[in-house]
Amino acid sequence: MSVMHPDEASARRLAGLAAAPSAPPDPSHGDGSLVDEPGKRAPLVLGNRSFGDVTNIVCGYIENKPARWWLPAVMFTGSIAGLGGLFIGYLVITGIGTWGLNNQVDWAWDITNFVFWIGIGHAGTLISAILCLLKQKWRTAINRSAEAMTIFAVICAATFPGIHIGRQWMAWMLFPIPNANAIWPNFRSPLLWDVFAVSTYGTVSLLFWYMGMIPDMATLRDRADARMRRNPNGATILPFVPIRIDRVRTFIYGFLALGWRFSARHWHRYEAAYLVLAGISTPLVLSVHSIVSFDFATSILPGWHTTIFPPYFVAGAIFGGFAMVLLLLIPFRVLFPYMRDLITLRHLENMSKIVLATGMMVGFAYGMEFFIAWYSGSKYEQEAFLYNRLLPPFFVGEGERFAPYWWAYWSMIGCNVLSPQVFWFKALRRNPLVIFIVSFLVTIGMWFERFVIIVTSLHRAFLPGEWHMFHPTLVDIAIFVGSCGVFLTLFLLFARYLPMFAIAELKAVMPQASPHHHPPESGSGHGTTTGGH
């Protein structure tokens, strides 16, 4: 093949050799990243990019003026977030009777939203920790934004248990502090385990995210500093306010970069710390959603009392989290120039494969629940699955019992089990529009999964005299929509002010970063080598 590998070309440019004429990518390789030949490494960065290009692209998103859509978008999502905040204020003043809860269904949208958001967070840690241990180099293009997403999702998640306790000013009782009767919290309760798991998870994710950003903040600091030295009279933060933007940047990014100066002795310890953090985050991420599932699995309620819950919840969390990563990054790929060179079709395809695999695990768990309900011979459990969830009215005879929440159950099956099946087809899992639609469906499906688990199990428990349906109120809906607003606002702010890509890590996986890489002398004969690793 005569087409030069893009990484090869950028290696030559770095070495000061003439830039090769960039040949259009082979149409059978999509954007150039979909190389299917075994033994040939698909490029991770497209478009003959050099190290300097990567720095310029990523820092450019922060340093240049934002695109015209950014301010209206952040105002819109910010308004939604503010509206959600107002409804939370109303809830705190009035009480949780403003939700649609009743005597039977005492957990509904609050805990559904909590599990939904905390599950979404798991993809970030999976990408930054587990894929790091598995040496999946493609993760470097998406890990920073996925970690940011994790933190914002944990913030949204932590709101719900905080406000669902009724008397929110008593939230201090979650901490190991003795109450007025000198009694300590109950350490045998999965709900308390949950407090420790989620707060540890949020803290460790934040540390991991921040540590990854230290070198990139230093890059932003140095660029602003260099501009200041070249031209001390640069742009000011506002007209007539004599404070230079670059001085503010030097100060803030410089403060956060902690004086990082890219020393190899520092990198050595940094990499050791990073690897250990990845190693300890891996069991952590698996433990967090397992412990969330204990909130249900350790109870005796049919539909909750299930040993499959921990692995089933973890698989579902990764499934929903990857769908959310795709949901966020596919529009950004369109809206931000050059992002398609860093997040290639190969990245999207890899994530689609993970969505398909975890979707199948979740589907297996759904089936297994029915098998165990039958195999255990527990009448209560069989009833819970058949008459709380499964049977639609048109499937049973006239006047016979059906499951009132059948529509929620079948939405979940359709979105989570059926929709990812399109990813078996290569053309579809490489099509960003298809991936976006499936990710959207999966996100809806994963919300319904938690709704099905929580509400359908609760609404008809052991005493038929207490059976109640759950109907959400405006407050229920507004607080959930508000949490989506918080999530999107934080993500938009992140995309504007912080490095969306791990610049240093991205450079380290480019072939020219390897000490074994030698740029070809004249370009003849080595046209398609892919460099060392």
């Binding site: 720095t55 300590w184 350490f187 385990w193 520092h266 450079k507």
Partner: protein
């Protein structure tokens, strides 16, 4: 700021003390070879500056493996142990509580929180230990005043041999860095450059 050095104190022509000599390298392969040469010449107070970690460079520089993971393991296990004792003391000693008919001293239910607290202390040790071993935060460094050095955070690969090294000699060290393929070999001054204070508006 005087460095601890047994050798002579070098100054530039303007009389400013020298912090070190810096040189640029083009490719990671060149840098790798140059690092081996500087290591073999017996220098100890020197460093390589790269925009990203380069695989195998620590061996080429002769850096000893960091003890950080041992520290993380020790503090992580201590955190887990203290977390366990906290729960045990609160539930079985300070205010005995019988929940679900279990003996207050039955320890199995304490495991999840023990695990989480172990992870939490290990994670804090990883990042704070990394910073402490690297002597960070340290917002001030003579290198950061050097205009050219700022390109290290973009795409430049540099080696700096510090004047406080016992073997440092302005001429010999410069020749070594040049012989190793370095370009733009330059002195780094200790004191802030005068250019910095000119015309910044205040």
């Amino acid at each position: 700021m005087a460095r601890h050095s047994s050798g002579p104190i070098y100054t530039t022509e303007a009389g400013v003390p020298v912090y070190g000599i810096i040189a640029e390298y083009t490719t990671p392969a060149d840098l790798y070879r140059a690092a081996e040469m500087v290591r073999d010449a017996g220098y100890s107070r020197w460093d390589v500056y790269t925009p990203f970690p380069i695989h195998g460079l620590d061996e080429a520089m002769g850096i000893r493996r960091t003890r950080l993971p041992v520290l993380i393991a020790c503090i992580g296990l201590t955190g887990a142990g203290l977390g366990f004792l906290m729960q045990y003391w609160m539930t079985a000693v300070d205010y005995k509580m019988v929940v679900q008919g279990k003996d207050p001293t039955s320890w199995e239910a304490y495991i999840p929180i023990t695990f989480e607290l172990g992870i939490l202390s290990a994670a804090f040790t990883a990042i704070l230990g990394m910073l402490a071993f690297n002597k960070l935060p340290m917002w001030n460094n003579p290198l950061l005043r050097k205009d050219r050095f700022l390109r290290c955070s973009d795409d430049r690969l540099m080696i700096c041999i510090e004047a406080s090294d016992e073997r440092f000699d302005q001429e010999k060290t410069r020749h070594l860095l040049e012989a190793a393929g370095g370009t733009n070999v330059d002195l780094v001054e200790e004191e802030p450059e005068k250019v910095k204070t000119e015309g910044t508006g205040h």
